[in-house]
Symmetry: D2
Subunit: 358 residues, 4 copies
């Protein structure tokens, strides 16, 4: 009933607040025997980390992860894998003067209404720092998926009206926007920098794909693969839209255009000649690439003067200073990958239960 | 682990195949003491039923629901509410000649891969007939929500490039497209009819909203209200995109445009002056209207000749005859309402657990 | 959160009240491809049925089960299996005069306190008629287990101070007490008959065992095999004690007596030379026989005059007439088997998730 | 599906191995606003700690707990409460020479079979050190229960044939056996000391009770209060039997003896004149004292020479040296309390969902 666990068979529970002692997670259900080195986790956390560039927050923390349990002689044992990162650069002072104000676009008001009070330091649990546990858990999921030939990649596809026009996968991690089009990436950086200088922020679109997914993953009728992906993506802070395959484009298509013909591939397996469906039919993976797009809102923390109320409902102005991202896109990339990895690892395991003759 | 149950506190399990003896559901977790008449369930099922118009399938069934348990003297008892509809117009003969072919855009191939074989009669469990259980369960959820002042309404917002321009709520149930703009509805009907005549089908967009939702619903960080709504909507057959609030529009917005200022309302409560956020902030309801949009693909069953393979991978042509909808939009309306009702009923109950001093 | 579902991977949800339209269940998670004939379900229900003998209630119902979904051409499809039995001999008149009284030893008071009111006809949902859904679901579990070489058998081991002294498995279903010792069975029947004549009831002990259970089933640390068996057994009406292996006898044993030495068996596998542990070590099956004993209280419904209160708390006498069992033991036998089968089927599936190299 | 989480609304996940970096837990679902000081957790952990007396293991660790999240300004925030204890006295050297042998009565064999290999250092995850997370989580549950007037107490009731004859609650924590009868406690200590000197161990019985439990807790039909208590208790290492109320004694009782008459109490509430039922009827609490008894086997680790096999199945002798308890009883006391507290906290919350008019 509480909401801090994701998944059924491969299960992630995260804990921690922005300015508490630590953030972390427990992965329960990872099969025994998987090779797991702390470096693989750290690599993903480093991708997520702030303070990496002028398009990100200036919070400086090493985000050094420690594996607390579940690994013996370099392999998972089938027991819970707890991982933890200490918070070391938590500056609550930035928040003391606005602790009774409700920041527009933020969770301050709703958490107060729900719980009666809240940890106002850095957004508490509603801070994006919570995603450290997701990325750490997602890193384990990625290792498991890799053993079964599944790989995941995400990138910044759009910022405002700037849309990536070319796709060079190697380019993604080369530029600070994580955009596969180097020229557009450069324009995006300028745009973000300008937004920051004007004390504003920008929204955009991230795309995430999974390749090598075996056909058969997904549990109709409520835990369809697209349903669990939808849930995973909408659980990420700032996401306001999710689409798979043709997405909202289907509103303009006819059945004869949108249906993907089945064919036998050279290797004898069955596939489709096009991929309007985005790798999922009837809630179950087809083996084609899974394609997902996410719309991320412009970060709510802006230094401009905004209108709001305090806890008592009194009108007030507010200016949010501190260390904030003018866009979430580049940091969203590893988070979106982690969430897709968690869904696929879960369904890869659940698929083992489908047949009596398995 | 199996996927036929939705929700945590207010829980729906559906069962049944298109051409099996019956379809039905069990609602577990409905609080005791709720007035529940079978007519309220039947009314929603009648809205979902096929054979209602020239934009829908010709399958003719009364879809008469029977409440099998959980109600005593007109009120829920706190025990499971089982409901059942007998299948009476199941014509398997339409399917015998294509039972070894994989219909493009359908679940035939993926279910075969997953389970090793499938009930090919009318799509079996992947048939939209499964949604009868959802609509019946959603009807109970709606009754519960109504007691707390929450109402839900959905409508057809777009078909191809035809977009509803005006909003007359009373108009929705008056036209067979369930479009709130009578003039556009008429155009849509023509467009659907033309598509049917050309043996094709059309996609579109349905919008669904909830009003009167109390602030405080939603369970961070994974069971955020938008995450569970996302899952619910993506679990509906044919849905390829979901957005809330500004949705994909946020890609074009700046933080200063997208943030909704907080104000004290006349009644002393706190609200926002605009609703870009769509009624949810930080995963928790704000009390503003919850706004959701769904992209539905053109139905995969079309009578045109298409290319596909059989179970052995041999190429084959296929023509799908039988009784199919050229668009799912009008029938999607009550289903989308049901799914939103299920999510909100679940979170209305879960919210009772948030505080020690409750 | 509601409590009408048992199991994780192999999942049973039951519904229905004693005097409502029907009782039934949904089995979700049964793997596809299992041969399933309605006769196999009916056979188990017939064993559970009342009106079989002078040691059981006189309620006369055929308890004819109907499979509503999930089976196609004689095999499970991987979709939910709904099963239903209509209530046909429900005589509410026996209950109208005591509907405001709290029967001692019954659930009347506690259900009223919990839910605010209750379906008083025949105990409503707290009636043993609810176990029809368990036995139907357990029958499916037994079929699955049989495919993996697991068999389950239960019997009446003790009634008062009458203890079965010999064990003839074939004898169990031959006598109405389901006692493996024919001579003691005869004495038990006399004892039960005498109790009935004196308007009283009797408690006793049922034993249930599983053979052929593969080693490796059970999910530490909370879903240990013994923990889930404990839950399953204590969920059966009337059970007040559960023990496995040596049970309460361990209080009198030394470690050197209670430890079972490991040996290599003739077939090369590893086993133990004795079975004090009852087939489970560290929460996981060893491959040895799983042995469980259940203490069942004397039925609360007795025709003697008893002291109680009504809903308002006013003192009152009560005499419970109608059709009641003077002992639950023989009918408990198939129910205990069903519950053990449900636990083992669940863990047989969950075991598939344990290793990465599966 | 993995088994390291207990509870639905009040949820405990534990992690950690005997000789890994740490053991710990996450409590999810604790309502916001509960006063929580680390000292309250530490107090319970100190009771559980080893090295306290000559009847316990000599492992010396402070077991200092750290709260990692979920608490702000001394109160719970409604977010996950992570707690951790570093392992500081882990001596793997005791285990290296037996790492390929299966200790009789231990989980070595079954974990190897299940997971393919295991962390053999100190029993890994099957070590009783895992119960640190349970006791920490149970301490939070106790604090919550205390706010609602519920208290829990456990004690050593029996060791071999030594049975506590008197009950002085204050005596329990005064003697190292945690027996409420000082004279019998002294005899028990002698008996345990003798067992240790003869390189053996002893079993016994612990009793645990809850007072002040409001009527109405428990979720029929599978999550009955006794079912969840049964599961909780059987999940504790070494437990082989559980009984509630009259327990196995019901086998010898008649209905007229076992039924507890209802009466109106002086304060107007309804209660029973006796408590054969042990505080639960129909799966729901009555408000009377909840009474549970647990049979704990003699610890499997004994220094005597025993017969066993190694991983390859070769026969071998084994002697288990190191730091082991000759009886688990006194340390079982706080663990049993913790598990009962976890069940009751969970159902206290779940009860909030029972009625529409709540």
């Amino acid at each position: 009933m509480p909401g801090n666990t994701f998944g059924q068979a491969f299960r992630l529970t995260t804990w921690g607040e922005s300015h508490g002692p630590s953030v972390g997670c427990v992965v329960d259900g990872c099969p025994a025997g998987l090779e797991l080195a702390v470096e693989a986790i750290q690599r993903e956390l480093d991708r997520r980390r702030v303070g990496q560039s002028k398009v990100s927050s200036a919070r400086q923390e090493p985000d050094q992860v420690e594996i607390m349990s579940g690994v013996f002689e370099g392999r998972t044992t089938g027991t819970p894998i707890a991982m933890m990162v200490r918070n070391t650069d938590a500056k609550s002072s930035h928040y003391t003067n606005i602790k009774d104000l409700y920041r527009p676009g933020h969770a301050d008001y709703t958490w107060d209404v729900k719980y009666g009070f809240r940890d106002w330091r850095g957004g508490g649990r509603s801070s994006a720092r919570e995603t450290i546990g997701r990325v750490a858990g997602g890193a384990v999921a990625k290792l498991l998926l890799a053993r079964y030939g599944v790989s995941i990649v995400a990138w910044t596809a759009q910022l405002g009206d700037l849309v990536a026009q070319t796709f060079d996968e190697d380019e993604i991690e080369r530029n600070i926007m994580r955009c596969p089009d180097a020229a557009v990436a450069a324009q995006m950086v300028e745009r973000v920098d300008a937004a920051r200088r004007s004390l504003d922020s920008l929204g955009g679109i991230v795309e995430v794909r999974a390749r090598g997914v075996p056909p058969g993953l997904g549990e109709p009728v409520f835990d369809k693969l697209q349903a669990d992906i939808g849930k995973a993506m909408f659980s990420i802070p700032a996401i306001k839209g999710v689409e798979m395959g043709e997405g909202f484009g289907v509103a303009h298509l006819r059945g004869s255009e949108n249906n993907d013909p089945f064919v036998r591939r050279a290797d004898g397996s069955i596939g489709t000649t096009s991929n309007h469906h985005g790798g999922i039919l009837g809630g179950i993976s087809t083996g084609e690439e899974i394609t997902v797009r996410l719309a991320a809102k412009p970060p709510a923390s802006i230094a401009q003067r905004q209108q709001t109320v305090d806890r008592a409902g009194n009108p007030s102005d507010i200016e949010i200073h501190g260390r904030h991202d003018p866009t979430v896109l580049p940091r969203l990339v590893p988070i979106a990958e982690a969430m897709l990895a968690l869904v696929l690892a879960d369904h890869l395991l659940r698929q083992r239960l489908a047949r009596a003759d398995f």
